[in-house]
Amino acid sequence: MSQTHLSMEALLSLREPGVEPGTATAREHLNQCPVCQAELDRLHQRVARLKALPPLRPGRDRWPETNARFRAERRRRTGRMAGLTGLAAAASLAAVISLGRMTQPAHATVEQLYQTMERSQALESALSQYNPEGRMLDGRTARMAQELEDRIARVDRELEATELLPQEAPEDQLLRLWRERVGLLDALVDVHVTRASNAGL
């Protein structure tokens, strides 16, 4: 038996799967050395104690902030998409309708759709100036903002689903959804304007 006891690195390597160079020699030493056997036992126990440490819990709920940040990013993305493709889609929708159906009510709906989408973009732009996700909100304001963000997210999902419909674009439905989105964005801007004026910003 070697007189030198195993190093911590050698003891740790004995716990690893597979055989590394030197493992056989180390194991041979271990089998004959009560000191190293005791050390390995202590190592096993230390790791077991580490695994048994009670879980630490966060001191506060970070979900409202996380969710608000995610919603804001998603809304910005949707806003950008609406800016890039939404108006183009509305324009092609208008073209299809004017060429295909030539019905005055449908054309009026598309005009309204245009205006509502533009209003939505203007509100997004106003909202970005308040940079809501970068500011601290009190609990009540954060809850109101989160509820509105959640409702906007639901409308966005409905909009995505509606725009993906394979059949003719249901312009009345789109208009209803975009109007709902504008109403919610209006309310969200109000929440942040009120908060900013209360804070003297």
């Binding site: 911590m8 690195e9 050390e39 230390r46 580490l50 966060p58 997210a153």
Partner: protein
């Protein structure tokens, strides 16, 4: 998937992929404590750990559509959390030198013959050593996986682990020779 942490995990994930706020909140509630625990065991302060918690779930919300269900859901979330925690300690390292902290703490406590409890001893390790100990011994990552996440070699991970265990052994007042 992790039925113990999240009931109806398949349904929740499917809904979360559509951006459903309730499903995303369910994911957060299911994994909030293990993610925070991992972050807090690695990071030096509660503030850093809470930031890692938020960063992790922000990434989970953004990337849930890319989760392919090849491994466990917790495994996927945990890798994001570990990566965010390691990113945090790397950032901290630019502010104050982790190695210096490690050396100073090591000398001070080895000289003082204090016998600490495990929590305190773990806390005394440098962030890098603690990260390796926690990821390897508790979370079950291999040295190769830790090395890949840290941008180091497996030898670095092994030597950090050995050094950390030698220190823990001394600080915990365990006797014996190795």
């Amino acid at each position: 998937m992790d039925s113990s942490l999240l009931a109806n995990a398949d349904t929740v994930v499917a809904r979360a992929r559509t951006g459903d706020p309730e499903a995303l909140a369910s994911l957060y509630r299911a994994f909030e404590v293990p993610v925070y625990n991992l972050a807090r065991r690695i990071c030096r302060t509660t503030e850093d750990a809470e930031d890692v918690l938020q960063e992790t779930f922000f990434e989970v919300c953004r990337s849930i559509g890319r989760y392919r269900e090849e491994g466990s859901l917790w495994g996927w979330v945990r890798t994001i959390a570990a990566s965010k925690a390691l990113m945090r300690i790397r950032r901290n390292k630019y502010r104050d030198t982790d190695e210096l902290h490690d050396e100073v703490v090591g000398k001070r406590t080895e000289d003082s013959h204090l016998r600490m409890d495990l929590e305190a001893a773990l806390e005394r390790l440098s962030e890098t050593s603690r990260a390796v100990v926690w990821l390897h011994d508790v979370e079950g990552y291999t040295h190769e996986e830790i090395a890949s996440m840290m941008g180091k070699t497996p030898s670095f991970s092994k030597s950090q682990l050995a050094r950390a265990h030698s220190r823990l052994r001394t600080w915990l007042g365990e006797e014996g020779a190795a």
